[in-house]
Symmetry: C2
Subunit: 334 residues, 2 copies
């Protein structure tokens, strides 16, 4: 933990100027003798270049930041896990921000991008306000947003397609003969909550099913909230299927259905969303709409690398295809 040597230290030891040291270290044309002297000195001293000083010159930090609501949420974990290798291979470190879905926190992260501690920011806001859009426009470094932003927003954008996703799920339930398909959603003022509410309504319409408000219940995106919401829903009506806005909600629904003595999937089929690691572990295993968390993370990282390579390209929008993963909670036992 002693103080590290600098190019000056090496220069003295090798009996050359700091310019020569820098040249050797950067593989610029230099005489054999100098190269050897510098290499030896650097080796002996255990020299490690100071990336901060280098960043000050180059205005590059080789770090990319990712801001998410909660590092404990499996969806974000899947994203991080997918970004990591992409960024690493390109020589970037990943910095994490957990914002607890606090809007001021998120805006703060965007503002601090100006501090230049990172070359770019990938952000997945759970709510999207006017202030977010302003902050995107004023950001001092490239921003990639995971979650739909309005067209024309000057950022690269990776989108999930909940519309198609929910359609896949409802088609599946319909094909199984289910007609009273309930929906346990998260808050409507969130990006996913709003998107999924629209998607559910559209799917009902397309299937020619009636819109029954009694079949819709809203809670937060966690297991306990999902359980409470399901309880409220069951208290007033009897669905033969439950679509849930994420897997945690679905787990809560499974808890309540089991407690009520209802069989899954015989009495009530259940579908989750996000296809997290929890889905194949649950009992019964959980059918879930995979919105491609991992792929969204990967694509976001790729967009960021492209943007860092060419800052002036047109903003791009990438949409990731959803997929329905059928398991025991809708079909037989597993």
């Amino acid at each position: 933990m002693r103080q590290g040597p600098t190019i000056t230290t090496i220069a003295e030891r090798a009996g050359v100027s700091i310019a020569s040291v820098s040249r050797v270290l950067n593989r610029l044309p230099t005489s054999e003798a100098t190269v050897r002297a510098v290499r030896v000195a650097a080796e002996e001293l255990g020299y490690v270049p100071n990336s901060v000083a280098r960043s000050l010159k180059s205005s590059r930090t080789n770090q990319v930041a990712f801001a998410m609501a909660d590092i404990g949420n499996p969806t974000y974990v899947a994203m991080v896990r997918a970004m990591q290798p992409v960024l690493k291979d390109a020589g970037f470190r990943l910095i994490l921000h957990s914002t607890d879905a606090d809007i001021d926190d998120e805006l703060d992260v965007l503002r601090r991008l100006g501090e230049r501690y990172a070359d770019g920011l990938i952000i997945s806001p759970i709510r999207l306000t006017e202030r977010h859009l302003e902050a995107f426009a004023e950001a001092r470094a490239p921003v990639v947003v995971i979650g739909s932003v309005p067209d024309g927003t000057p950022v690269d954008n990776v989108r999930a397609d909940s519309r198609t996703g929910l359609r896949l799920a409802l088609d599946h339930l319909y094909a199984l003969g289910r007609r009273r398909i309930g929906f346990v959603n998260g808050p409507l003022d969130t990006v996913p909550g709003a998107a999924r509410a629209r998607a559910y309504a559209d799917a009902l319409t397309e299937l020619g099913l009636p819109h029954d408000p009694a079949l819709i219940e809203i809670g937060d995106f966690y297991r306990a909230d999902g359980a409470a919401a399901t309880r409220r829903l069951l208290a007033r009506t009897r669905p033969d299927a439950l679509m849930c806005a994420n897997d945690l909600i679905a787990l809560g629904a499974l808890d309540v259905l089991r407690a009520e003595g209802l069989r899954v999937p015989e009495d009530v089929a259940v579908v989750g969303t996000d296809d997290t690691d929890l889905a194949p572990v649950a009992w019964p295993t959980l059918t879930s709409v995979a919105l491609g968390s991992a792929e969204r993370g990967r694509r976001a990282a790729e967009l960021m690398l492209d943007r860092l390579a060419d800052g002036d390209a047109e903003p791009r929008v990438v949409t990731v295809e959803p997929r329905l993963v059928v398991r025991g909670s809708t079909k037989g036992t597993s």
Copy 2:
């Protein structure tokens, strides 16, 4: 995304020197008039301090790095989730390294600490080699290791107590009348694998149970490996309980037991280790030895903060208490 203003820009605009600007920005005693002029100018220009330049001067980055084998592993996720708020409250950002348990990768991270991109490193190596110990000794910044290191190693250390943990589990199984307690472990050359093997053997001795090699099987730390190992074990003997070295292995064991038509816990009780998010979701819900992943993460972050505040203090060792969380896989249905 335009070029940002610097203190020089502000100084010109406010008609003062850069020194005065710096003083105002750092709240050092300054005259009212100067303060106002600088504040106004900074505001108008949308000034944001450059943290890289500040770091160069102060040799502080306000970043702490965490190196783990796999960001997808729930144990590490729990650690990250617990470190995050501690570090954040102290004004530090968290940087992530996923090393895929590659030793060269880990050593590289340690070496690159010399680049000073982070003020300190928290690392949780899955294997611990001689080279690791050397690298710890030579590290250019504080290192906190999660996982036992030999006494005398010059780093702060957070340990789990697998010995007590396995003892709790085996006591529980013994109390339930189980006498043929199998053990599905991970590789013996890993830190947790070795510790848990010793702990299992010790617990058997203390309970006065015979050591039957047929009851021990080794695979890797993932679900499929746990399943395969369990299959091998069942092919040669019939345990009435299975202790598993982590929750993923335990899930694999549950898969196999179910496939073989064995009832859990009636025929075979199952205990996992780490008490991850997966344990309460599994079916039956999984009894698991909580080795305090979250608390280990939290304590590691705290040790790091202490160390950064006082670099010369004696290296500290913190041991986190294990806890047995009893669920359906050992006791009734749940």
